[in-house]
Every structure is written in structure tokens, then in C-alpha cells.
Amino acid sequence: MLLAVAEQVLNGLMLGSIYVFVALGMMLIYGVMHVLNFAHGALFMLGGYCAHLVFTQAIGNYALAILAAIVMLIAVGAVIERTVFAPLRDNLRNQVIASLGLVLFIENLVVVLWGPNALQFRIETTQAVVSLGVLRFRVQHLLIIGVCALCVTALFLFLQRTRFGTAIRAVAQNPRAALVVGIDVVRVHRVTFAISMALAAIGGALLGPLFLLFPQMGDLPLVKGLAGILLGGMGSIGGAVVGGLLIGVIEAVSTLVIATDYRDAVTFTAIVLVLLLRPQGLFGVRTREEA
């Protein structure tokens, strides 16, 4: 049983890392632009497809394919930010509706470009199996966890230690005051969107080879990532990381005692319980409602 728990904790950490990629990306956009971008799951999926395209059609090197996917998604994100979100900047409700519309648009665009069948993203090196005692994991599992840890650390350092990171935090706190002290708020929006796109691209490109690429592959990570944000506390980067990982581990370990089809019920019951005790989430800061 201990072995099974160990296996599931590692599986949970892997899936949780994927949720972290989605949660962080959504969290950044929410923090700065105050919009829940529901298209983030679809963009995550697009990241996987872009990496696959570059890997199979051009380079054949996984690391470079991920980098190319990041660049491609940043470009897509720039177009979306300028054509969809920027014109609707003063209307939060319409931005949310537009992001829902984007989901339909992107998913069906992928069906048109790549067809409805799931694509295999085979990378021989990361398909190799690592044995930990009797348990066996693919290299891809460990790669996902490792890259996630790296990205989280880099993002944390960027936000805490750099001038631009400070500017992002300032805009997140109070856009008007940030503007008054000379921060280019529009630029902050654009860079934040780009970082969020890069995280989506990395997440999609990492998950693709483990499973399959298909138009709906971002739907589940989106919901779980969002749940991770709620669990960790809206507005807290550390909260999004811990929340995402916790959800991955809770849902993986719970399947050892409760039927797998109740997995989501277990996860969301845990979230409800946490929110009942700490409405601001695990790491959220309680703030007074602004007038």
C-alpha cells in the first residue's frame, strides 16, 4: 500500500505541475488585468500543437521545439491581447465572454488545421522508463516536475528581484497609482500576457508527449488550474503553485480508496472545505472590499 501511495504521490505531483503551469498563467493575467482568461486552456493546447509542429516538421529537437512553441504562442498572445482584450479593457464582463468565445475559436481552428484526430507526440528520449524500486516512471514524468520547479523559481525571482517584476506587482496592486509613478501599464499588460503565454506553451509542450494532443486537452487542466488558484488563494503566486500541486496529489491519492469516477468530487469537496474554513484560500490575503 505504501508503494501505491508513493506511486500516486509522484503521479499527482506530475499532474499537479501541469495544473501549476495553467494556474500561474491565469493568475498573472488575473492579477494584472483582472480578467479570468478562460481561453488559457485552449492556448495551453495550442502550445502542445505548436511544439509538435516544429518537432515533427522542422527541428526534431524537443528543447528547441518547446522554445519555438513559446515564441509562437507569445506571438499568438500578442495578437489576442491587442485585438480581443485591449479593445475591451474597460469592460470586464465582455472580456470574460470574449475569452469563452476564444475557446471555441481556437479549438475549432485546431480541428480545421490539424484534423479532429488526436496526434501522437513521440519523443524517444523522454519515453524511456526510469525504475525506482518496483515502480517505473517515464523520464517525461520527472521532466515535467523538474521544468515546473525551474519555471516557478524563475518567475518568483523575476517578480521579486527585477524592476519589471516590481512594476508588474505594482500594476497588480493598483493600476492607477502605478500609472501615476510612471509605470507603463499597457506595456506591463503586454509583457504579463507574454509570460502567461510562455507558461501555457511550456505546459502544453510538456504534457503532449506524455499523453496525446487533441483539441480538448486543455479543458481539464483549465478547470483544475482554476481550482488550484481558488485553493491557494486568489492573487497569490505561491498559493497557485501549492494549490495546483495539492489538487494533483489529492486527486491521485484519493483514487486508492475512492472510485476513480469520484476523483473530481473528492478534489472539489476538499476545496469547499478549505474555503469554508479560509474563504481567502490557503495563502490568500484577506482584503477589505473596495468601495
Binding site: 500500500m1 501505491a4 499532474l15 484534423g115 479532429p116 522508463v129 483514487t255 486508492l256 476513480t260
Partner: protein
């Protein structure tokens, strides 16, 4: 002068427009339209493509032979396709439209048992026959709906052959991984009912459509000490489940559905991982049966891939609809088409198709097994048993 020229030009345009307007109406008299429900987008878009390939091939074959003769007149066959996206509400709305706005004499298709269950009562309310070609939920044809017919075998029929085989092999404890929907849950219920009493089931795990991580199931199957795993799902999750079972080093006999007995499936994995796996099959594309070989060749020529069971069943669905229209002698009277369907006896590419009192056909079901070299053999039924390369 200019005015006259303009008037003349306008008159020519008007006559042209009138002619253009008349032509389709004249042509429409020679066309019979069959309604099609399928999933062209959403999570079932991939099997939907096979379904549409079969239907399109049937339309092409019928029209290549000069169309269908109904009541002494020849009609070109047309289809009106609606995308249900695998969603019962969209399916219901599409069926409503087909039967009340498009007023087709018969509707065929659909993939999901859940959508079919929502849609079938609408066909009955509007008195239009509905021929299922893929959904396998056994209850669909047991709902006392006189307007519903099914050309493909349902879960109980499919599982029977496999249950006999599993019990002969003594594969217990048996584990299941199944879709958390009518097809998956229905499959598990059927198999458990058809296996000998007291057959040990080590683990039953369900997953939602779209889920791709089977690690929890793999751990539980290892814990349960299962000897064999039955996978009730289609190609995509099937390939993922097998890849994850093998990667985790689980030594179990794999048992699959008809989606897992094709070259396409082999390309998703490899012969080494599939070696020894058995699956039921409604259409082994390489079987030495003339009707199967004929369809397989035509399908490959048109779509450049191995024929799929869903395509063969859907091809038969459309051909059965045409046979019923022919027998009914009417391209519009849905009531007569239904009467004709109850008496139909059609030699399809999947086998001989006749409907019982519940509207259910009983096409042959096969059990095939993967060989070490990536070919397949047929293990069941006894009269077509053949070695590697025939399945």
C-alpha cells in the same frame, strides 16, 4: 438607347435568374435526402469521421449505380448532415430539425448512446424511422420505440463472444477500465453478466471522456493482482491506457474493444506492446470473406487507410435505409419506410441484417488477437478461425 440596353440586360438577367431558380427544383424531384446525425466536432469527432466515411462511400456507391429506384422512379441519393458534437441537447435539436423542417423520410447515424437515448424519442414523436449505426447501449432498442432500429451489435452481443473466450482461458481476477458513460458502464455490466457466476473481478475503474491519465487505474490493477484487463473505450484512450500499463511494467493480459483491432491502432503503439491482446470485432478488415474484402478494398482506395468497423456499419446503415425506401415505394412516407424496415433482409458488408421485434439486428461478432509480427488472427467464430494476417 441606354435605357433600352439596360432594360434588355435586366430582362436577360431576370430570365437567367428564373431559369437558375427552376433548375434546382426540377432536379430536387429526382433526389431523396436521408438525414444523418454524427459528431463532426467535439470529443467524438474522430469516430465521427469514420462514420461519415462509411456514409459518404455508401452515397457514392448508390449514386454510381444510378441512384435508388423508388416507386418506379430513379432518385439520386443526398444526405443532410447535422453535427451533434456528442451532446444530447444538440442531437435533440438536430433531430427535431431533420424531422420537422427538412422532413427527411429516414435518419441514420449517431455515435453516442447518450445522445441516441435523447434523440430517439423525438424520432418516434415525429414518426420518422431512426437507424443507429454505432451506439452500443443495449437499452436503446429495449425502450419500446417502434421507430428505432440498429444495424450494429450492442454491448451484450459484442461481449458474449469475448465472455466465452475469457472464461475458457480462466482469466481471473479480471479488471476493467471503462469510459464513464453508457458505452463503458454498459460494457462492464454486460461482460460481468455474461461471465460465469462468481467470476472474480479485481478492479473496476471508470474515467470521463477526455481524461488521458490512467496512472490511478494502473496502481489499482497492480494492487488487485488482476491477471487480465478489459478496456472499454475507443482507440485514443485505449492506446494511452496500454502505453501506461506497459510503461508501469504490469504483466497482464489485455482485452479490448473493436476499436483496438486495426492497423491504425498498431501505429499508435507497436507490435511488441500489443502482442497477445484480444478484442471483439464487428469487422475484421482482412478476413477472407468476399463482402468484407470488397468493402476494405473500396475503402482503402478512397480514403487511403484501413477500413474501420464504424465505417462498415454506417455504410450498411445507409444501404439499409435505401433498401427500405425501395421496398416502401415512397421517398417521403416515413410510416411506410418504417414498415419496410421491419421486414428488411439485407446482405450488408458487416453481414446479413434483419431486425428483430425490438428493431435490433444481429450481425456477426468476431474475436481477434494480435500476433507478434503486428498482424491479427481470428479466434472466433469457429467457421472463420484463421491465423495471423486474417484479422
Amino acid at each position: 438607347m441606354t435605357k433600352i440596353v439596360r432594360r434588355a440586360a435586366l430582362s436577360v438577367l431576370a430570365v437567367g435568374a428564373a431559369l437558375a431558380g427552376f433548375t434546382p427544383i426540377a432536379a430536387a424531384q429526382d433526389r431523396v435526402t436521408i438525414g444523418v446525425l454524427t459528431a463532426l466536432s467535439g470529443p467524438l469527432a474522430a469516430p465521427g469521421r469514420f462514420q461519415m466515411n462509411g456514409i459518404n462511400l455508401a452515397v457514392e456507391d448508390a449514386n454510381a449505380q444510378g441512384g435508388v429506384e423508388i416507386g418506379g422512379r430513379r432518385y439520386q441519393v443526398e444526405i443532410k448532415v447535422y453535427d451533434t458534437r456528442g451532446n444530447p441537447a444538440e442531437g435533440a435539436s438536430a433531430m427535431q430539425r431533420l424531422t420537422t423542417v427538412d422532413r427527411v423520410p429516414v435518419v441514420i447515424g449517431e455515435l453516442s448512446s447518450g445522445v441516441a437515448a435523447a434523440v430517439a424519442p423525438i424520432a418516434a414523436d415525429n414518426e420518422v424511422p431512426f437507424i443507429l449505426t454505432v451506439p452500443t447501449g443495449p437499452n436503446l432498442t429495449k425502450a419500446n420505440n417502434r421507430w428505432l432500429f440498429r444495424v450494429n451489435a450492442h454491448n451484450d452481443q459484442l461481449s458474449q463472444a469475448l465472455a466465452d473466450f475469457i472464461s475458457r482461458q480462466g482469466w481471473q481476477p479480471l479488471a476493467y477500465i471503462a469510459w464513464n458513460n453508457d458505452a463503458g458502464r454498459g460494457g462492464v455490466q454486460s461482460m460481468s453478466r455474461l461471465l460465469p457466476q462468481g467470476w472474480r473481478i479485481g478492479y473496476t475503474g471508470f474515467f470521463n471522456v477526455g481524461e488521458v491519465d490512467f496512472s490511478a487505474h494502473v496502481t489499482n490493477i497492480r494492487n488487485a493482482g488482476a491477471r487480465a484487463v478489459m478496456l472499454f473505450m475507443d482507440e485514443e484512450p485505449g492506446s494511452l491506457a496500454i502505453a501506461q500499463i506497459k510503461a508501469a511494467g504490469l504483466d497482464v493480459q489485455l482485452i479490448g474493444t473493436l476499436a483496438m483491432g486495426s492497423d491504425r491502432f498498431l501505429r499508435r503503439l507497436d507490435a511488441q506492446r500489443l502482442n497477445g491482446m484480444v478484442q471483439y470485432n464487428a469487422f475484421p478488415p482482412n478476413a477472407a470473406v468476399p463482402r468484407i474484402q470488397g468493402f476494405s478494398q473500396r475503402y482503402r482506395a478512397k480514403f487511403n487507410e484501413e477500413a474501420h468497423g464504424f465505417a462498415a456499419q454506417s455504410y450498411d446503415g445507409l444501404m439499409v435505409a435505401l433498401a427500405a425506401l425501395r421496398a416502401a415505394g415512397s421517398a417521403t412516407d416515413a410510416r411506410r419506410v418504417r414498415e419496410a424496415l421491419t421486414r428488411i433482409d439485407h446482405e450488408g458488408v458487416t453481414g446479413r441484417l434483419r431486425f428483430d421485434a425490438e428493431g435490433q439486428a444481429s450481425p456477426p461478432v468476431y474475436v481477434t488477437q494480435w500476433c507478434a509480427d503486428g498482424r491479427r488472427r481470428i479466434l472466433y467464430p469457429a467457421d472463420v478461425v484463421a491465423d495471423c494476417g486474417a484479422g
